[in-house]
Point group: C2
Chain length 553, copies 2
């Protein structure tokens, strides 16, 4: 517990990475979380489904936790909610659509007693000793907000994810007026989105994508298929608008697309009349020229609808000559190969494929440098902490701020777990708290298990080699030849001589140990492992995991 005039802000995720944004804000006996996101596993975490921020700090301070404030409904800001609520059932604050998305997620997890509290742009409320204000921003999902927190130490602002769009598809432009008022009131610290801080200039309005879509619809002869993030409801709305203008009905494909469109229609965020919607099972009853299908799979995910359409394994939707496919998204780093394969497969089927950057069918939802300068000039923060991004993005955000005259002494480039302490007018960085990754595997929250990841890496590269030796319980002598079995190691045919060689080698090892009267199983296994490992790596330059099994008979 802190004293009433000490404020700590502790990013527990989202720094030095894209994803799992979560920041703890503490003062006196109260703590709130701003955002509660997840990240996707990368190729160094085989078999892992998703990644959460480490909960250790939350568990240690759970008595202080008063609530969670959500800036918007993207997975990297709300994806950890079910896991956190399972352990700490505190109120969750967000805009209507953000909570709609959270509610549907909680249903999936069977969590029924969540305390979800809807907030409107401009609303202010007190919680945990803080006064919380939601400020409207533009982003690639409706209902996105910046958060202003009034604390005893001063006013701090979290941008959330934002861009400045003067002609947004839905709702007003970002509330720059309110940001200016906050700036005049005096902002102690600003935690600003850095995702696009390497990009000079401005991000074009989402509306420019609509213009491209209209041109695509003008020229399309057959069926049109548009893939985008299911949460990008502005993009979906623009496809619907183009469909209206061109008299096409709208099919929906992909579980998350159907779910998000359902939520958005119900809550009034999407203007899509029921009469325009074609159910998955009915898409083939509509003539190709009268149909557009909105689908998931813009990232080339192997099981998503677009990949299945491209591979020809989708239940109802086929694509062919005269059809047009629009991939209205940019590949997230790491997904390039999957997207590339999807494009190739679609083209092989004869479809016209439009993708970014060759065709301007995507704009980013994150502010570029000139937008970052605009917000900095309005907020005039005393301290800047760049958030949401890899280190180099945080660094570029800092450089942009410095180019406007903000002193580098007042900019903090942090890592997850860093503790920023504000007291009076001063800001200080304290020692890090525990922050890292919780891996979620097979539907459950796994504790950190580096050794499992290392085993999987080794298994995936070099495979596994099992030796079974039968030993006389009385004498310790080897009975019969040992058996060897491998998986993921080498082609059994190529490896044939190797298997025989291994049997011989293990036989010799055990004859040697028997002579020395070695009966300790641990030692027997170590010697088998050592001899076999050096034999195999010499013959094949591979180091499979070796599992010696000794059976007493």
């Amino acid at each position: 517990m802190l004293d009433q005039n000490t404020l700590q802000v502790i990013p527990l995720g989202g720094l030095g990475e894209i994803g799992k944004n979560m920041t703890a804000v503490r003062q006196g006996s109260g703590m709130i979380l701003v955002d509660c996101g997840m990240a996707f596993a990368d190729e160094e975490m085989p078999g892992i489904d998703i990644v959460l921020p480490d909960f250790t700090f939350l568990r240690e301070h759970s008595a202080e936790l008063r609530g969670i404030v959500l800036t918007h409904g993207h997975e990297d800001h709300v994806g950890a909610i079910p896991y956190v609520l399972r352990e700490f059932n505190v109120p969750v604050y967000g805009t209507r659509i953000t909570l709609g998305i959270v509610r549907s997620k909680l249903q999936e997890f069977g969590i029924k007693n969540a305390d979800l509290r809807e907030v409107k742009d401009g609303d202010r409320f007190d919680r945990g000793g803080f006064n919380v204000e939601f400020i409207h921003v533009n982003h690639s999902i409706p209902g996105a907000a910046a958060i202003a927190l009034r604390t005893n130490a001063g006013l701090i602002v979290f941008s959330g994810d934002y861009k400045v769009d003067f002609t947004p598809i839905e709702g007003p432009p970002m509330d720059l007026g309110r940001l200016a008022e906050l700036g005049n009131e005096g902002v102690l610290a600003y935690f600003g989105d850095s995702t696009n801080s390497e990009r000079p200039g401005y991000i074009p309005s989402e509306r420019t994508v609509g213009e491209t879509l209209n041109k695509v619809f003008d020229h399309a002869k057959g069926r049109i298929i548009v893939a985008s993030f299911a949460s990008h409801l502005h993009r979906v709305q623009q496809v619907v608008e183009a469909a209206k203008r061109h008299n096409r009905l709208v099919g929906l494909s992909g579980r998350s697309m159907i779910r998000n469109v359902g939520i958005a229609r119900e809550l009034g965020y999407l203007d899509l009349p029921a009469s325009m919607i074609v159910e998955d099972r009915d898409v083939n009853k509509v003539p190709d020229k009268d149909l557009v299908v909105m689908t998931t799979g813009s990232q080339g995910e192997p099981l998503a609808a677009l990949s299945r359409i491209a591979a020809g394994t989708h239940r109802s939707i086929e694509v062919g000559e005269d059809d047009t496919v629009v991939i209205a998204a940019h590949p997230i780093p790491g997904n390039e190969r999957g997207v590339s394969r999807t494009i190739d497969n679609l083209m092989k089927k004869g479809a016209d494929v439009m993708y970014s950057p060759l065709v301007p069918v995507h704009v980013s939802g994150h502010a570029a440098q000139e937008e970052q300068k605009l917000v900095l000039s309005l907020l005039k923060p005393q301290y800047l902490v760049p958030v949401h991004g890899e280190f180099r993005m945080l660094k570029h955000h800092a450089e942009t701020a410095m180019s406007m005259g903000i002193s580098s002494d007042n900019i903090f480039i942090l890592e997850n777990g860093a503790v920023m302490q504000f007291k009076g007018d001063s800001a200080e960085r304290l020692d890090n708290v525990t922050a890292g990754m919780f891996l979620v595997d097979g539907g459950g929250l796994a504790d950190n298990s580096d050794s499992i990841m290392r085993e999987r890496q080794q298994l995936s590269e070099d495979g596994m080699f099992v030796v079974i030796a039968r030993i006389d319980a009385q004498t310790g002598a080897l009975l019969g030849a040992p058996d060897v079995i491998s998986r993921g190691f080498m082609d059994p045919q190529t490896a044939n001589g190797l298997m025989d060689g291994s049997v011989e080698l293990v036989t010799k090892t055990l004859q040697r140990t028997a002579k020395r009267n070695v009966t300790d199983w641990g030692q027997l296994k170590n010697e088998i492992r050592r001899d076999l490992s050096s034999f195999l790596s010499q013959k094949t330059r591979k180091r499979p995991i070796i599992l010696p099994l000794i059976v007493e008979v």
Copy 2:
């Protein structure tokens, strides 16, 4: 064997992919190969070092094989040479630097009796019933050539990898005059580089990178480190030129950088006086402001010099405040994360990091659309086969050609193994021959082994579960409790109950089979595997490889 007037061109690699370019050209009793490249393994081939074209067709037609013609010395055009020469010792034709690279590669493999025959630009020679001509082109390596083959069916041209650079760093611009003459003579078929066919316009001259480098050198205070492909000797030359102008010595780091610079200096392709070179062990004796280090690792490869410098694990080179690092390359798709991590690590050490596209420190070595049009307009080929590229790149190349009036009937988008047959004036596509991948693993040529790859995938995602049951040889009854061991499956602590549950389950399975007097081991194992698999996937949603072992006692 074909008749004298039938020509077959069979791409055995490089179509629908980037890498392992190899094309067989047959006529009468003679066959030659144009290029002989490898590819790197992707994330779906765990543990695989490199990928070669399938040799089946070569083995079936080895008696016809008369020689190999190499367009240039990049791995994706020469990397399979040692493996091919081990099986078929035929003459290899290439320019001086190409053969220098091949020679060094053969040394590594201990191949001594290779018949390497140097060819100069403009040279013509007869081999295998073909007349072969080398034509100078620009690319990101010196000594690159297009190949014109005069056959009984007509003249065919392979571009190799090329760009049009009117102000190249070394040698003359691409020999457009000779291409024009060939076009006037009449080109039957053109096999053209498609790598950049999605890019409109022209690729800037390599010289523009030199201008950027000079600016970087103007402003650098401390040490400069430049990472690039070790084979990009023009880039290396430009770094050397900037070093000369700025009175810096040149350090070299990374095995392939040292090797390639050595070859290029020896053969006169690189102007780098010995007095400017600093040995690895001496770099720290040179003041930072007087040194530039050329290094490998531009692709973020974990073991390459730049990654080790970034991670602080390099033997001799450190980087810190005031130092400048230039990554003079673009990440190849799939390498983005590694490059990103390297940039972040370097920045965390305080270095200024310059990378593409933020700073123009890289230009491509492959022709964009306007250059492709230029070559097509000079060659005026009757038939076009786009090569070197993913399907969508081949498609775009075809579209570019169609925009110039070449009929789609005369353009063939092929896949590996397709047989193009030319006879008289007609071109026809025949049934595919065997073409695919040979995987190289642990230094040896592995036969195709999809099942091994599948096993490794499964092992890497879900791990492995071994059950050992001791059975009475007489009665088939289970003796004692079965043992279970897992690797890469779950955290042993979390999995604790699961292990006990598995032991119980297998005990029940074997009691059940004993009652039914099942003694067939295959059946016993199948029942164990089935019961355990459904138990584990129900509890964990994971499907480890299950290996039931039965030991008769």
